[in-house]
């Protein structure tokens, strides 16, 4: 249970406060409703590059990190398909430094050309480090455009290709800031050793004078229904084969989200889940296999990622996985198994409330979904799910025609490059 208060500044900024006198710290979370789905298809990776630039200086503060560190604070940020989220923790006595820093960069950016140039290079190195230089790092670069043909989820947060980042201009950056970085498109939450009245005063002082903005249009093209299985085969210099299979499923805010999430948990959460027992332990098809809902705000994916035991063929591995998923489409989940999934969800939810930083993020996140108070009804939502709903979701989602599959093979030393139909990057032998 997270007790909180909510108020809205005249400029439209929504603020949530959770008082916790038991900690010497304060966590602040600023969520901007902008992610990779808001990018132009020729300028992908921009929301994430922008996240880097937000540390490159604002109108009155040449460097964001230094004053925060001097005040004993620490921060980070992340970008995904839908949101860009900035968070910090700071000793409670220095909370005003956090308001000064976060309000100044909402009020206006002022970084230099040099900063833009350097961050372009840093993000290119991040791209290389996480997506190109490490084994299997490009799997999602290949999967997204296989699963999505129209919706902007067809590219990754890091971007479609390095050149999009290299070509970003100062004009692009200013335009992006104007559209998405303003009080109407943000949610601020504070959790820790504070009083709501104190936060209200500080908000009015520091965020109050910032000009409001216009809510950005959100008319993402809907992904049409998929009616045919899509596949892609690649060979890469990796030590073992992996199978990636994704199915279109509901959005984060759809009523069937919780049933879909429990379905994934029943399949793969923990060491006594169906896929682990059957395919890892007993049949020894995979050494590891995971299933999860992508959690996106628009229609998302139910994802399976499996690492094959050496010597098992891709066909046999996929067939074994399909036998397990077919059970869920044919037979209702036994009550005890559903109870277990719900109890796991409840424990997860309670554990996510332990840290102030998580509480602040949860409040911002649920407010962005529509109503912060829903953060206190998550366990109820899971407990309402019935076996019949899971059966229905499984029937709708787990159909072959609705799937996209990436067969990721090791490339053998004999030079067999297989039938790779031209990935964005040519992997060398």
């Amino acid at each position: 249970m997270i007790n909180f208060e909510r108020f809205t500044l005249p400029n439209g900024l929504v603020v949530l406060v959770n008082e916790d006198p038991g900690t010497p710290l304060v966590a602040m979370n600023v969520l901007y409703k902008v992610g990779a789905r808001d990018e132009h298809e020729d300028k992908t990776g921009f929301a994430h590059l922008f996240e880097h630039l937000m540390f490159g200086g604002s109108a009155n503060i040449p460097n964001y990190d230094e004053p925060l560190e001097k005040a004993g604070g620490e921060n980070n940020a992340f970008t995904n398909n839908d949101i860009t989220n900035y968070y910090l923790t700071i000793p409670a006595q220095n909370i005003e430094t956090a308001f000064w820093l976060e309000s100044d960069r909402m009020a206006g950016l002022a970084f230099s050309d040099h900063s833009l140039e350097v961050q372009r290079r840093v993000v290119v190195e991040e791209f290389k480090q996480n997506y190109l230089n490490y084994p299997y790092g490009d799997a999602w670069l290949l999967l997204k455009p296989l699963a999505y043909k129209v919706h902007p989820y067809r590219w990754n947060t890091i971007g479609k290709e390095v050149s999009h980042i290299e070509n970003a201009t100062m004009h692009d950056v200013r335009d992006f800031f104007g559209r998405f970085y303003h009080p109407l498109n943000a949610v601020l939450s504070v959790s820790g050793n504070v009083k709501t009245s104190q936060v209200r005063n500080l908000c009015e002082k520091w965020f109050g004078p910032i000009a409001t903005g216009r809510a950005p249009a959100r008319d993402y093209p809907a992904e049409p229904g998929q009616h045919e299985k899509r596949t892609r085969v690649v060979h890469r210099p990796v030590p073992g084969a992996r199978l990636y299979k994704v199915y279109h499923c509901c959005a984060r805010t759809d009523p069937e989200f919780h049933a879909t999430d429990l379905l994934a948990d029943i399949l793969s959460k923990g060491h006594a889940s169906r896929l682990h027992n059957s395919l890892v332990r007993n049949r020894q098809v995979f050494t590891e296999i995971h299933a999860y809902h992508s959690g996106d705000l628009d229609k998302g994916l139910l994802v399976f990622e499996g690492r094959l035991v050496d010597g098992v063929s891709m066909e046999d591995a996929e067939a074994a996985l399909m036998q397990e998923t077919a059970k869920l489409t044919h037979n209702a989940v036994p009550d005890a198994e559903l109870t277990k999934a719900k109890q796991m969800a409840e424990a997860m939810e309670i554990c996510s409330e332990i840290k102030n930083a998580h509480r602040a993020l949860n409040l911002s996140f649920y407010e962005m979904l529509g109503d912060a108070s829903q953060v206190n009804h998550v366990t109820e939502r899971y407990n309402e799910v019935t076996g019949a709903q899971i059966l229905e979701v499984a029937g709708q989602v787990l159909a072959e025609d609705n799937s996209s599959v990436l067969y990721y093979h090791p490339q053998h030393a004999n030079g067999n490059t297989g039938q790779d139909q031209g990935a964005a990057r040519k992997a060398s032998a």
Partner: protein, 425 residues
Amino acid sequence: MQMETPDRTREPRVRPAPELRIQEPLVESLSGGAPLYVIPGGQQEVCRVELLFRAGTREDPNRLLAPAVSALLLNGTAQRTAEQIAERIEFFGASADCDSSAEYAAVSVVCLNKFLGEVVPVIAEAILGASIPERELELYITQSMQRQRVQNKKVGYVSRKLLHRALFGNDSPYGHYQSEEEYAALDRRMLAGFHKGNCRNLAGIIVSGKVADSEIELISRHLDGFGSVSTESVAAGNGHRPQPEKIRREWPDAMQTSLRLGLPLFDRRHPDFIPMKVLNCILGGYFGSRLMSNIREDKGYSYGIGSAVVPLSGTGFMYISTEVNKQSREDALNEIYAEIQELTDTRVGHEELDLVRNYMAGMLQRGFDGPFAAASAFRNVMLSGMDLSYYRDFMRGLMDATPGKLQELAGQYLQKESFWEVSVG
């Protein structure tokens, strides 16, 4: 209410951290003699129970058995299979993680208070009766080998391995990395023997979270089958004293090069330990550090760079690590060494030192935020045979690290020729 107009050009006044509030754990004793430390706190009806065993690689002359045994502690007894044990834990939403290091093996259970009575006895029974079934061992070997093959394709992992081996020697618990042959040769009878010798006695239990007497009583009662053992290891320390070397592995297809520099240092008890932590922080220990400002924020050679001072049992080391754009390897190395040399050549300014002290004091506070964090902070010192006064000493030590002292330490420890240098990619 009167509206204040903010002066955005002036940063709000920074106030010093209040006295660090460190709660001493309550200490109880199990009937088998092991100490049970309780760190109460938090609002959520959940707690963490950590069982600590003196079953790390130090206790294992071959270095092979300890990680395998800790991974298989909950994977089967004569009466129950691994699936059955996992089911009885996960049904109640609890989770149990096993991990091991050079010094210790630990089983960490997170459980809603209302289910402690169901979960704790399952954990105790599984560990005490662990039979290391053949099927589970085979699965462990297959998984470990596959994971290692993937890791060996990563420049960062390989450079870490090469540095640790070079610093401590492949026979040392700190330098040993298992080969595929060693995995394949694991024998269940030897594992069972190591389990019998090392996993039936507890070196300690740490319970943290919203726990009252009734929960403590319940946990103690269900763990009464364990004996006790002191935290002091009988194993020999690390006698390895090699000469610095440069190790290079060229990977023609790699897009980035992992650079890892390191040198041996000392453990937490050494009088220079705390000021070295400060010196390290200035060099590469936080986002605003000199290395980060230079290599990432000024040059854009890398997504990130960092350095750390790592205390081990009776020894320790420092390392600097980054993955850089392949073309920039030599430039990055030159810049890293220039930053190291600068620490010897020029005294740190007071402004930078104040910032780093405040940052480190804030980190220390964060290390005690919430019962689980406080339990981890306690565990770190407890396993080194120290107590929480270490953290109060640390706060004082931050203030004693003067520019003159830091310059002296840089001259003493951080010379270019003292560093091992590994480059992969």
